[in-house]
């Protein structure tokens, strides 16, 4: 009775003289290795060469500014609540008269810190943010660090630089997953 279609009949036949000489098999093996010798290598040489990342890749965080360069974050704390790794801490402060060009809302984050050792890059902070203030960049990885103090990212390293607000416009409060759904819809590949 045959139980499976994948069974192979084992043969115990004696090796022929050619097989016992080893040499034809060795020559065949040498042929295989030399073919690999000249094959194109698949290695990506990391620091010089970088693998292109997916549009929805969740990399290093950025705190966004609006079109005129004001910080979007209003220190509501929803990101910190949403964070499953409890990586985000913030201290809120009130905007003083004359600071309207710095902060968009009346309340802003005086301190905003993300612990990159805790962060699991899930992107829930991005989903939670009602002000489209925090994003995980798809083209930038959280870099390696040498000391423990290096891994707590404050506003100094998280805030979007003033130079880049002119070049990249904010995509109207869409999160990565929203953009992915949009793209799939547009491409018709769902």
């Amino acid at each position: 009775m045959q139980l499976t279609t994948r069974s192979k009949r084992v043969s115990n036949k004696k090796l022929s003289l050619g097989e016992r000489l080893y040499l034809p098999a060795i020559v065949g093996g040498l042929g295989i290795t030399i073919r690999h010798f000249f094959k194109k290598k698949v290695t990506i040489q990391y620091p010089e060469e970088q693998r292109s990342m997916s549009e929805v890749f969740r990399g290093l965080h950025v705190l966004k500014r609006d079109e005129v360069g004001r910080e979007r974050c209003t220190a509501c704390g929803l990101c910190a609540v949403a964070c499953p790794a409890e990586a985000i801490t913030m201290v809120a402060a009130e905007r003083q008269p004359g600071e309207e060009h710095l902060y968009r809302e009346e309340k802003y984050a005086a301190v905003y810190e993300i612990n990159m050792l805790r962060c699991i890059f899930c992107g829930l902070c991005e989903e939670a943010c009602p002000k489209s203030a925090i994003y995980l960049q798809s083209d930038k990885l959280a870099p390696a660090f040498y000391s423990r103090a290096d891994i707590i990212y404050g506003k100094d390293r998280l805030l979007q630089s003033m130079d880049s607000i002119k070049t990249t416009s904010l995509k109207s409060g869409l999160t990565n997953s929203d953009r992915y759904v949009d793209k799939v819809w547009k491409d018709g590949k769902y």
Binding site: I26, G29, L30, I34, H36, F37, K41, Q45
Partner: protein, 354 residues
């Protein structure tokens, strides 16, 4: 013997020694590169352009490591082991003819100077003598380490080398019978045209010889003395720093010498096809003669490098033998085969001479 001839010989010996060490150094780099390429990787490419400074970085690392001698090791033998391995490896290359003769009459040397350390009439015997001495380096190192695995590796190395030396020497006897000389330069001179290369006249002997050469150099598929998976490195388990470096380096020098001996004995040494044609094109006199000799030496080095590559190629193709398979192959296949080869060669020589 005049002083200039002596000086010219001294320069040649120094150059041969330097080239031997250089080739051995870069064999370590080539080994890693070839291994990588055959496994679809890129290999070392960070130190210098294409990683060319890697051997220097490796040597620097070796020198700066702690030179440790285990407490229960026999101290003097522990040091003698790698020294002996290195010494015997370095001594071998002096009898190999790297090229024909140089005409140096313009320097006031009347005799033709051969590109060879010394032309002894027992060259091949000298090589075998030194190669079998090389076992002592491994044996003493393994014994002195006072470590079970090292001792096992050393015993394996000794028995393997003794078994394969027999077949190796027997396969050479056929060539010696044909040439009638033990001198390597005489054997090379005998293969002066492409169809007189010994590979055509002694194909079985060549296969036996190259198999034994792999075993003598402790290279895969016969690298049982130093197999990492079974013996954690074999005889050099306890070695560190440059003593370990010497063992590894000696292996590469042995590989270079084996390749040189294979090319000299079976592939016509510094002779190459079209040599007589080229000699007609080159200018007459000393200049043309010297040019031809240098081209011959270049060809010889090309052959050596090819065989070093072949050693590496085989290493990344064939898996290691089991110990009983190794001994079966040596004693039950190669030795009877080489004796049969001697008999056939003797009969053919007898028939041709009558």
């Amino acid at each position: 013997m005049d002083i200039y001839f002596f000086l010219a010989k001294a320069v040649i010996i120094l150059v041969i020694f330097g080239i031997t060490l250089l080739v051995a150094t870069y064999s370590t780099y080539a080994e890693r590169k070839v291994a990588a390429f055959m496994q679809d990787r890129l290999g070392p490419n960070r130190a210098g352009p294409w990683g060319l400074l890697q051997p220097i970085a490796d040597a620097g690392k070796m020198f700066f490591k702690e030179d440790f001698i285990p407490a229960n090791a026999s101290k003097w033998l522990f040091i003698a082991g790698p020294s002996l391995a290195m010494l015997t490896a370095c001594l071998t290359s002096c009898v190999i003819p790297f090229g024909g003769t140089l005409d140096l009459t313009f320097l006031g040397i009347d005799q033709p100077v051969q590109l060879q350390g010394i032309d002894v009439n027992i060259g091949i015997l000298y090589v075998f003598g030194l190669v079998s001495l090389g076992v002592y380096g491994v044996m003493i190192g393994g014994w002195a380490s006072n470590n079970k695995f090292s001792l096992l590796g050393a015993i394996r190395a000794a028995s393997q080398n003794i078994s394969y030396e027999l077949a190796m020497s027997l396969s050479i006897i056929a060539i010696i019978m044909m040439t009638g000389s033990l001198s390597i330069s005489q054997i090379v001179a005998d293969q002066d045209s492409f169809f007189k290369w010994n590979i055509w006249r002694q194909p079985v002997g060549f296969i036996i010889f190259i198999t034994c050469a792999f075993a003598e150099c402790n290279r895969t598929p016969f690298d049982l003395p130093e197999c990492e998976t079974e013996l954690i490195g074999g005889y050099h388990t306890e070695y560190s720093s440059m003593k370990l470096g010497f063992y590894l380096f000696a292996e590469y020098i042995n590989m270079f010498v084996s390749s040189a001996v294979i090319s000299a004995l079976y592939f016509g040494g510094y002779h190459f096809p079209g040599e007589s044609l080229l000699a007609g094109v080159l200018p007459e006199g000393a200049l043309g003669h010297n040019l031809l000799t240098m081209i011959g030496a270049g060809v010889f080095f090309f052959k050596i490098l090819f065989f070093i590559f072949f050693f590496m190629w085989v290493r990344w193709t064939i898996a290691r033998f089991r110990y009983d398979q190794l001994m079966n192959l040596g004693w039950k296949s190669l030795i009877p085969l080489s004796i049969a080869n001697i008999l056939v060669t003797g009969v053919v020589i007898l028939l041709l001479n009558n």
